[in-house]
Each structure stands twice: as structure tokens, then as C-alpha cells.
Amino acid sequence: MTRPRTIADRFEVVASGRSLKSLRWEASRRHRPYGEDDLWTLAVDRRTGARVRVLEPPDESVWLWAACMWTEAVARHVVAAASPHTVPILHVGPGVVFAEPPPAVARPRLPPAQAAACAFAACEVVARLHAVGCGGECGRSAHGRLAFDMPTPIDFGPHNLRMTRRTGDWTIAWLVPSHLALADLDLAPPETDPDALARDLQARLAGSITDESPDDLPPKYDPQSDPIARDLARLAGFYLSLAPPERGRPAAVDAVRRLAAGEPVVRDVAGLARLFAELGPASDRDARLAALPVVDVLPPPVLDWDRVIAAGEARLPGLVPRQRPYVVLPLAVAYHHRASLRAALAPEDALRDVDRAVELDPIAPYHITRAVLLDRLGRRDEARAAIAAAFAAPEWSDPPVEEVGGIRLVRAHPVVITDRERARAHATRGTIALRDGDLALAEHDLRRAVDLDLTAAHLHALGAALYARGDLAGAAAAEARAVELEPASARYRWDLVVSLHRLGRRDEALFHARKLEAMEAGDPSGRARRIRLPGGA
């Protein structure tokens, strides 16, 4: 028995959505077929009386919390973009309330120009999603496994990327974020659409379709490939599903076809949209092309961390211990991310965030960040304790996989500490030791940091430690390498000048001093430094 439920004081729930698993179970045991309506939470808008559909996780699915946060973030991006090609979203959080979408229909066979216009519209949607870090088929965990708890909420199937003739011509009405369970309905055998079969037969008899194997048509791509390449292949596949390649096809169609087969013909969705623009003239084509973001490397997902943190903290008190990790682990990551964003301008706030992250999930990376922030705030004793905690964390020395009797066992909640993260820990301990005057430990740690992750910052810090120990030649070598890696840094060059000067390598010192002077021309803070140049410049 369910109680009447209202979402956001506006949408009265008529029926709650059911999980695909339970529907399949019923279908197999009781021969009860299921349809699209069973998978949605159906509701009515009190303001307009209109029917709406709500995308929400099934009850008790705490394990989907992080995925829900991402889905809602994508929904907010879609609301902000206000694209005419996506189904309007009326409310976000908790769940996503869509206006009633057009019914899902089988892919129509369209003339190339019209298919290109639809594919162009799909490109516009995907390009904007790529700009906020949403792309590819499925996220991956730190170990490269498919992360099933973080699916990317874009689906290209006919139940999510819908075709409609509401305005006369065929257009797309895409459900973004997509209802991934609806993809199950896409798998229905094509025999259920006799019209499509008849159309196909007619087209073949007329000779307008080549006799290529239908297996060649769907996008074939390497699931390990780059997420953008995967989306490009899926977009190309969408076009080909509307307008299968005909005899005497133009070059652009050939390019789209090769792209669907996984060939890197273009690098970004804007490039693919240009190909579609060649196939289907549109009045405002140039303006629409110019407005498309060019994204060839997927950026990190753009989330509102304040919102994620508030939602997580609100969710925690109601959870039983078994459910907590599904919220606690992502929530701690969110705190760590916000701390990293705030570290430069508001270190006190950042420290509060990372304190909470450590409290929720005491893993080495959070201890390292905490040590960095405490050190920056001058609280060196606490910083020393924090960095010691990082080195003492179990994941620091234990590999996430252990072998017992020839069987490889993966530890629960494994934390993979990358070389970059290990280098950050050594660099933090090394710089704290340098400020403490423990020069031997400083040199040891900073050398280790350089070995693990060769960066200008690590080399520069190592140079400072060597200089303090009196190894001027070693310091100059490390600093020269830092300058090589980051030639635009006046700071690194200045320290090299001083080392060279003290070594008596006057010509080299003057060479770098002149470069420094040119770099800092007009910089008031640089003038004071210039006046101290050895021997003048």
C-alpha cells in the first residue's frame, strides 16, 4: 500500500516507477508483459493538470546516490541550456520531472537532408553535454572497470532519443538525462514494426539501398576508446539509422559511415556537426555551428559541490550502517574536491572541508591535502601529524590486491595511490622538513618526489634543500631542470641565478638574470629583485 506522494509541492504522483529487475521477474514468472509506463513514475502537474514523467531511482537504492547526484547535475545543465531538441524539464531534485514526451516510435527512414538536420540537432545537444564533462557510454572506476554506479546519462536508443513530427518535419525530442532502463525496450525485435520491414523491402526492391550487411550499420567502436570517440560513433550511427547509405552517396556520408565504424575522421562533435551541415542546408547553420563548443578531451564532470554536499549530509542520518558507504565515500570525495577548489583563496574553509572528508573516509590523499593546508596556514605541528597519518594509512604500504593460496583477492574499498599522489605526499613532508631545518629528511623526500613525478615544483623544492645543505652544484642542476620545464616562472629562474652566482658561474647567472629582467619588465614586485642582480644586467 503506498501513500499519496507529492514532488516539490507541485507534482502529484499517480504511480511509482518500478525497477526493470522486478518487472522482468514478473514477466518471466507470471507472463505479465511490461511497457514504458511501468518504468516511469507517473505524476500530474497541479498547476496545469498536465501529465508528467519523473525519472527517479527505485526505492531503497541508496547505492545509486552518486549516480543520482550526477544525473541531477546533468538535468540542471539541460535546463540552463534550454535546447529545443531536449524534452522540457519542469523540476530537478530529488528526481527529474519531464514534461510528457512524444511517444517513442521506430526510427523513420528519412531523406539525407532531413536526417542530417536531426543528427545536427543531436550534435548540438551532445556538444553542450561534453562541455560539462558528460559523455561516453559508461564511467570507469580507478581500476579501469566499468563503473556501473556512475553510468553516463545519455542514451541514443529510440526510447530516449525520440523522433517526433509535432511541428510537421521530423525532429528529435531527446530525454536528457536519459532513462537508461528504457533502453531495455529498444531491444524488442524489429518484427514488432511491420511498417519498417515493408519500407525496407520496398527500398531494396527500388534499389536505393545497397546490399550491405545490416551488421555494418550500427556503430561499431572499441569500448575502451575515448568517450568522445564513442559518442561520435553513436551520433554517426544515429544518422545512418535514419538515412542508410545509398548508392552514389556524397563524401560526407562516407565520412560519417567511417566514423560509425570507429575511424577517427573528426575529433569533436562540432567537427561532426560540420559534416552534417554539408548534407542538410539550414538557414541559421553558420550561427549554430559557431555556437557549438569544441571539446576534444572530455573535461571533469561539472557538479555543484555545495549542492552535492548538502544533499549528502541530509541523507546520512537516515541510513543504516550497511548503506552508509554508498553516500559516505562519494560525499568525502565531494568535500575533497571543494577543498581543492577553495585552497588558494580560502584555506580556512578548505581545511574545514578536508577535515570532514578525513572524518568520513580517512584515506591517505585526504590526509595529504590536510597536511598541505595546515602547513600553508602555519600550523606546522598539526601538518606534521597529518602527513604522518598519510604515510601510516593502510593503503600506503598495502597493495589493493593480495594473493592468498594462488587466488588474487581485491580488498574492500581499495584506494589506489598513484605515483603522482605518492610524490605529493613526499613533497609535502619534504617541504615541511625543509622549513623545520631537517635537511637530510627534506632532501630524501624531495628526491623521492622528483623520482615519482618529475615536475618543476618538485625540482625547485629539491634545489632549495640542496642549496640549504651547501650542495650548490646539485641545487643549480635541479633548478636548471626546473627552469627547463617551466621557463616562464620568474621564481624558479631567480633561484637558479642565485645558485649560479654563488658557484661563480657569472656568465650563466647573467644570462638568466637578463631573461628574468625581460620577463619582469614593468612588474613592480620584480623591480626590487632586479636591483639585486649580481653584477647588474
Binding site: A147, D149, L341, L434, A457, S499, H501, G536
Partner: protein, 76 residues
């Protein structure tokens, strides 16, 4: 009666138990990790020794004097 009610209870609880058993392991969302976590502040900037400062000051004074003389010599 008792047997049938126990059976009903087991059957009712079974899907929940089965669902609980197949839950994926909780993971930290890898994509949420900050790409550039905070790094330690650089060590303090080096200072030249006092003697070098004196020499630099003298050299700087000489440099200031030379361009002035050249300016006066330039024909207008």
C-alpha cells in the same frame, strides 16, 4: 499452518535478501576526484649574500649614471 506462514515469510523476504546480496560494492567516484589537489607551498625565495648586494648596488648606480650621460649627448 506454522509451516505455511514460515514459507510465506521466507518467500516474501527472499527477493529483498537476493537484492541485498547483489548490490555492487561502494566506490569512490573516480571522476569526482580533483585533478589538481593542493600542493605544498614553495620554499622561501633565496637571498643573495650581503657582499653581493653591495656589489649589485654599486653596479646598479653605475648603470644609472651611464644612460644619463648618453641622453645628454644625443642630438635633437
Amino acid at each position: 499452518m506454522l509451516r505455511s506462514s514460515s514459507l510465506a515469510l521466507v518467500l516474501l523476504a527472499w527477493p529483498t535478501r537476493a537484492a541485498a546480496d547483489v548490490l555492487p560494492e561502494a566506490e569512490r567516484p573516480h571522476d569526482w576526484e580533483p585533478r589538481d589537489p593542493p600542493t605544498p607551498a614553495p620554499p622561501p625565495e633565496k637571498e643573495l649574500p650581503a657582499l653581493a648586494l653591495w656589489l649589485a648596488a654599486l653596479a646598479a648606480a653605475a648603470l644609472v649614471a651611464v644612460p644619463r650621460a648618453r641622453l645628454q649627448e644625443r642630438p635633437r
